[in-house]
């Protein structure tokens, strides 16, 4: 029985916690938004996946743009800057996945326990993730646009054309590309934070961003094919409805952002311009982000 009695305090090994009194941190210094942002930035930049996705996004964009520009450089009317946005279709997947991993990482790994015991209000964490992921995506997007421009140089110089980045609305297109890539990261973050699991989040966003516009366009083309001649009178309106819907999908909004001013948009769809395109994208981000915030606030996280 006595063997079970606990040893006296003197028996305790020399306290490893001893000597800590000298370095007590200042009291009353809790979390504020700036601190939570630096914490989220530290988390984001301390993962290999973040670096790998960023590098892959830049490299893939460079390669696709380079190939596209080289292929078109044989055309007599070759305009190098027309190939500037060719890498975007695939490049957008990078920031999207980056955002999804940032949004789901807390929950798939259990890190949320450490995070939400440090910041029990929870919502500042989500807001800080938006800021940190947005800022990081901005750097990646700038590098990606830079890579796209650099990829045009060989084809342009082979034809003796000099690249003028200040002309023909090119600055707007570059800003639009950057905005779109950042928006994809934030869309990924919002959907990831809502669904808390990467596979459903990737499936949902890929369908929304890549598959749905193709399916809709394909569907409307099939419906207006020769077999549906009797309803020919309805065709223009039907197609314009589908095209309008496509315009309000994220990829359609992207098209509004990166389209050179003055060029024609999707047939039958209203030309809304880059500002409305940005608003549409913002809506696509805010919808899942708000739902994620409600879920985070109202429910147990354990």
């Amino acid at each position: 029985m006595s063997a079970l009695a606990r040893p006296s305090m003197e028996d305790a090994p020399g306290g490893p916690a001893a000597g800590r009194a000298t370095s007590r941190p200042p009291r009353g210094h809790g979390p504020n938004f700036a601190r939570v942002v630096t914490s989220e930035w530290t988390k984001l930049t301390s993962l290999r996946s973040t670096a790998m996705i960023s590098v892959a996004t830049v490299v893939v964009t460079w390669a696709l743009t380079y190939l596209a520009a080289n292929a078109s450089s044989v055309d007599p009317g070759f305009v190098p800057l027309d190939s500037l946005t060719t890498g975007l279709l695939l490049a957008q997947v990078g920031p999207l996945v980056l955002g999804i991993l940032a949004g789901t990482g807390e929950f798939t790994t259990g890190t949320f326990r450490s995070t939400f015991t440090a910041v029990p209000q929870r919502l500042p964490v989500l807001a800080a993730q938006v800021v940190a992921a947005g800022a990081f995506a901005l750097l990646v997007a700038a590098a990606t646009v830079g890579a796209a421009v650099a990829a045009l140089v060989p084809a342009a110089s082979s034809r003796g054309i000099s690249l003028d980045l200040t002309a023909d609305g090119t600055p707007q297109v570059m800003v639009g590309m950057t905005t779109y890539l950042v928006a994809m990261a934030l869309l990924g973050l919002a959907v990831g934070a809502l669904l808390r699991s990467p596979v459903p989040a990737i499936a949902l966003t890929v369908v929304l961003v890549l598959v749905l516009p193709v399916l809709l366009s394909l569907g409307s083309e099939l419906a207006t094919g020769p077999t549906s001649a009797p309803v020919a009178a309805d065709v223009p309106s039907q197609q314009s409805v589908v095209n309008t819907v496509v315009t309000f999908l994220p990829s359609g909004a992207a098209d509004l952002l990166v389209r050179a001013p003055g060029s024609s948009g999707i047939e039958g769809a209203p030309d809304l311009g880059p500002r409305v395109g940005a608003l549409v994208l913002a809506g696509w981000i805010l919808l899942p982000l708000t739902a994620a915030a409600v879920r985070l606030r109202a429910r147990d996280v354990a």
Partner: protein, 316 residues
């Protein structure tokens, strides 16, 4: 100081924590004991605000956890080894936590040194053994130099050195006047490092007592076996003390309702020569098992796979 009052958590029809009330006081190591599934972790998660109580309150230092102005400085929490991104190094994980409170890098290095993780702090946490993960969890709990520590199964997965280290650590933290609240499913472990033990089963409070009280209680519940030259005389004396005595051959008496000390003293007083004196069973572990016998949710060897309080589907 942790105060839990009438804390209740229901998940649909299941009650995980049921009207639980107890306190963990400064300068004390309070053990939190119960079989697996008794509601220990749920209670701890409610104390730190990860889960909302269905009813009742839990406060730390008089405040709800969510109302603490600087949680890491008030409460150090280690709930689950899987609270770290496996792709992040221990240093970066702790640094990210520290930055939410503006805690310096040097303090991060300090807790890494305290927990003995210096040589592996630059390795990704996914490569850690269970014991290293526990040390990392404890490092995170110490980061803000908190007044209160909440540790869920801190010795789980540690090697013998690590177990001794944790015992020493929690004792020294309590000696500095801090509140230490740690869970275990092993009575033995808590009897070695806790001052008080809160025992729960099926979410209900079974006992809230000091370790020495529990030792006494378990001794009272035990059987003392004594062999003496004068069993008749001793039986009279012991019955007079209110004990139950069952005589056996060769002068052996089995005594219940008296401790070894009581029986020995009684024998000395009446002059009966003691040939043998021993307590049968009655260890702290037995007392604990006795207390929780009805409250074990996942009993080994159960073939029907239903818990005792599951509604009988076919009846009525």
């Amino acid at each position: 100081m942790i105060q839990v009052e009438a804390l209740t958590k229901r998940y649909g029809p299941t009650t995980a924590v049921d009207e639980l009330t107890f306190a963990a006081r400064p300068g004390t190591v309070t053990g939190f004991l119960g079989p697996n599934g008794a509601g220990k972790s749920t209670t701890m998660r409610m104390i730190v605000g990860l889960e909302r109580p269905t009813s009742g309150t839990a406060t730390v230092g008089g405040r709800r956890y969510a109302d603490l102005p600087a949680p890491l400085h008030a409460v150090g929490v280690m709930l689950d080894v899987r609270s770290v991104h496996p792709g992040r190094t221990a240093f970066r994980h702790l640094l990210a936590q520290a930055r939410t409170h503006g805690i310096s890098r040097s303090r991060v290095d300090e807790v890494i040194a305290i927990t003995g993780l210096e040589s592996v702090a630059g390795r990704r946490a996914g490569t850690y053994s269970l014991g290293m993960g526990q040390r990392l969890g404890i490092a995170g709990a110490l980061l803000g130099d908190p007044e209160t520590l909440i540790l869920d199964e801190p010795v789980n997965g540690l090697d013998p050195d690590g177990v001794l280290w944790v015992r020493g650590l929690v004792r020294s933290l309590a000696a500095e006047g801090r509140t230490v609240f740690l869970s275990s499913h092993l009575m033995h472990e808590l009897s070695l490092c806790a001052d008080r033990v809160v025992i729960i089963g099926k979410g209900r409070l079974l006992a809230d007592a000091s370790v020495s009280e529990l030792v006494q209680r378990s001794e009272h519940a035990s059987t003392v076996r004594i062999r003496t030259t004068d069993p008749d005389l001793l039986t009279k004396v012991l019955v007079g003390l209110g004990a139950e005595v069952v005589p056996h051959d060769n002068g052996v008496l089995n005594v219940q309702g008296a401790s070894v000390d009581d029986v020995g003293a009684a024998a000395a007083r009446c002059g009966a020569t003691v040939l043998e004196l021993a307590a049968d069973g009655g260890s702290l572990e037995d007392a604990y098992l006795h207390l929780t016998a009805d409250a074990v949710q996942y009993r080994g060897g159960s073939t029907d796979g239903t818990t005792t309080d599951a509604p009988a589907g076919g009846a009525r």
